[in-house]
């Protein structure tokens, strides 16, 4: 067990080195969500309750950033599969699960940096910061990011270094996941089939919980469902990811 922990920490430390060295890359990776924030949010009407549209929109953008960052992350493994350093690690005594888990856990760090940036950007505007809620939401999104990251690594391994396959699958799944989770527009009043799809999307619950937490409220059912949704993604990601890593050669 301690070997697993040591290996995981080693893998995670290695993966984080480029993040610390080139922190600007983390900012570049979130240009798309920032564009949505800047160009989409002003179009939204203020909420019926009288609050700013940002109050509703920002948590969604935060969840979107987490999803995008973590779903891209498999491309780094793809690079290492093509260059040969993945093979080198497979021959080393590092356990296969640690190679996957260490990578997936690393996703938490750039995600937290991005959440901090978004919150810092919107707070001077008409956004009401509830720090305690944001911190709980960060915990929720960490769990979610680990799961999505693990799935992205599994996709990279399944693509066997073929870029087009990785990007096709990732891009095909990304926007339907975002839209049906109600990130950009509310799902309320949508056709029945869309409601069903939305209810089956675990990210829906993560986004709902992030919204209530960012508002500084703690309705226990919404928060619990959020953590349950994130836990499902994390468990699925880790199981699928570790299995893919064991098969990698």
């Amino acid at each position: 067990m301690s070997t697993f922990v040591n290996d995981t920490v080693n893998v995670m430390t290695r993966e984080l080195k480029p993040v610390w060295r080139e922190p600007m890359a983390v900012v570049f990776a979130m240009i798309q969500p920032l564009v949505f924030l800047g160009l989409f949010a002003p179009l939204l009407p203020d909420m019926a309750t009288g609050g700013s549209a940002l109050q509703w929109f920002v948590p969604g953008i935060v969840a979107m950033t987490a999803l995008m960052g973590a779903s891209f992350t498999g491309s780094s493994l793809m690079e290492e599969m093509q260059s040969g350093s993945h093979e080198r690690q497979l021959v080393s005594p590092i356990g296969r699960p640690a190679l996957l888990v260490g990578r997936a856990l690393k996703e938490v760090v750039p995600m937290l940096m991005q959440v901090a940036i978004i919150v810092a950007v919107v707070t001077p505007f008409s956004f009401d910061l509830h720090l305690d809620g944001v911190l709980v939401a960060a915990l929720l999104l960490s769990l979610f990011s680990v799961g999505v990251g693990a799935l992205s690594f599994a996709l990279a391994l399944a693509s066997k270094g073929q870029d087009w396959m990785f990007w096709t699958v990732q891009q095909t799944l990304l926007f339907p996941t975002l839209l049906t989770a109600g990130v950009l527009l509310p799902i309320d009043g949508a056709p029945r089939w869309l409601e069903v799809v939305s209810a089956l999307n675990p990210m829906t619950y993560v986004v709902d919980a992030t919204r209530v937490l960012f508002a500084g409220t703690y309705p226990s059912d919404v928060v619990a469902q959020g953590f349950a949704g994130a836990a499902v993604v994390a468990a699925l990601g880790l199981v699928v990811g570790v299995r893919a890593m064991r098969r990698s050669s």
């Binding site: 080693n10 290695r14 780094s76 040969g84 093979e87």
Partner: protein
């Protein structure tokens, strides 16, 4: 086929018995490695030589636990590659065809992380990294991003990565492919020095004849997934004999000379138009006597050439194909000449 005996070494570094690997793609089965029986003693420096697709890398991938054998067994450093996977991994170093060091990382960071992967403490890893950086002449580039290093520097870093834990068996898969001649020569010198200093077993694959010839104590020639020769380069070549080529002004003289040469014991004579070639052991020593005989018989050659055998000749003799032809693309010069000729015609 001759086999080495290793009476001076107690337990062999590598043993394979009927080692076989098949790949199935689109319902077609490719037998990449077929029934390899091999014994490599501790401290040997062995080269697997063969054309692309001969099964060299597949063999190496089985020996380094990357892929399991379809059938047969292999043990490395005393551990079975399937049941003792973890122990094999701890005992071996592996330098693959690509770059072991991640392109986004710094060389020194990768060496330290590699040390940690093999159970060294943080302090030990740092110390070992510093030592390897100095030994492999990487001081100027160790703290740069790996992607900014030249091909030769990256290769030295890859080798450093494979040496971090002082492996008992070091595998190098096509270590000099893609390097220019100067860097290739440097790399060969480095491998030779590492082998001499460490006493580790070194196993490499190559499709460069010169490399196998210059570097390895023992050359294992593989083709179509089978081992077709296993001996020192010198013995493989001397077994084949020298090639004496004689040129004539007309095919009839060549034919008469060939008839005379047919009397030379243990030789092989070929006639090609106005040229005769004789493959015979110690041909370079016999050539004076041969010329005197042919002159006495009234068929003195107009041109004489004696070539020592190369490993390519050995490969040609064993397979009927030249190793050079099977993989080396024609040089751009040859191409342009041909094009020019066509245009002129």
């Amino acid at each position: 086929m001759t086999h080495h005996t290793h009476s001076d070494h107690s337990s062999p570094a590598i043993v394979t018995r009927g080692l076989t690997r098949h790949f199935t793609s689109r319902k077609q089965t490719v037998e990449a490695v077929q029934g390899l029986d091999l014994e490599i003693g501790q401290g040997e420096l062995v080269a697997f030589l063969g054309p692309n697709g001969a099964g060299k890398s597949t063999t190496l991938r089985m020996l380094t636990t990357l892929i399991p054998p379809t059938s047969g067994t292999a043990s490395v450093a005393g551990h079975d590659v399937v049941t003792g996977q973890k122990d094999v991994r701890r005992a071996i170093g592996f330098v693959g065809q690509g770059n072991g060091a991640g392109h986004r990382q710094l060389g020194r960071d990768e060496l330290i992380s590699q040390g940690r992967a093999y159970g060294l403490s943080h302090a030990e890893s740092r110390e070992r990294a510093a030592q390897l950086i100095e030994d492999l002449d990487l001081t100027a580039v160790a703290d740069r991003k790996v992607s900014s290093l030249s091909g030769g520097q990256r290769r030295r870093l890859d080798i450093a990565m494979g040496l971090v834990h002082v492996p008992r068996v070091l595998f190098l898969d096509e270590p000099s492919t893609g390097l220019d001649p100067q860097n290739r020569a440097n790399l060969q010198e480095l491998v030779r020095r590492l082998h001499a200093d460490s006493g580790s077993t070194v196993v490499l694959t190559t499709h460069y004849l010169e490399e196998a010839d210059a570097l390895a104590d023992r050359v294992i020639v593989v083709d179509h997934g089978r081992m077709i020769a296993d001996d020192s380069a010198a013995r493989l070549k001397s077994g084949l004999g020298d090639l004496v080529r004689l040129g004539y002004d007309d095919p009839s003289s060549a034919a008469r000379a060939a008839a005379r040469l047919g009397r030379v014991p243990e030789s092989r004579v070929d006639v090609d138009g106005d040229a005769v070639s004789l493959r015979v052991k110690d041909g370079s020593r016999m050539v004076g006597e041969l010329l005197a005989d042919l002159t006495a018989d009234g068929v003195p050659p107009t041109r004489v050439e004696v070539a020592r055998p190369t490993l390519d000749d050995v490969f040609l003799d064993l397979t009927g194909r030249s190793l050079r032809e099977t993989q080396q693309a024609p040089s751009p010069d040859t191409d342009s000449t041909e094009i020019n000729n066509e245009v002129a015609a």
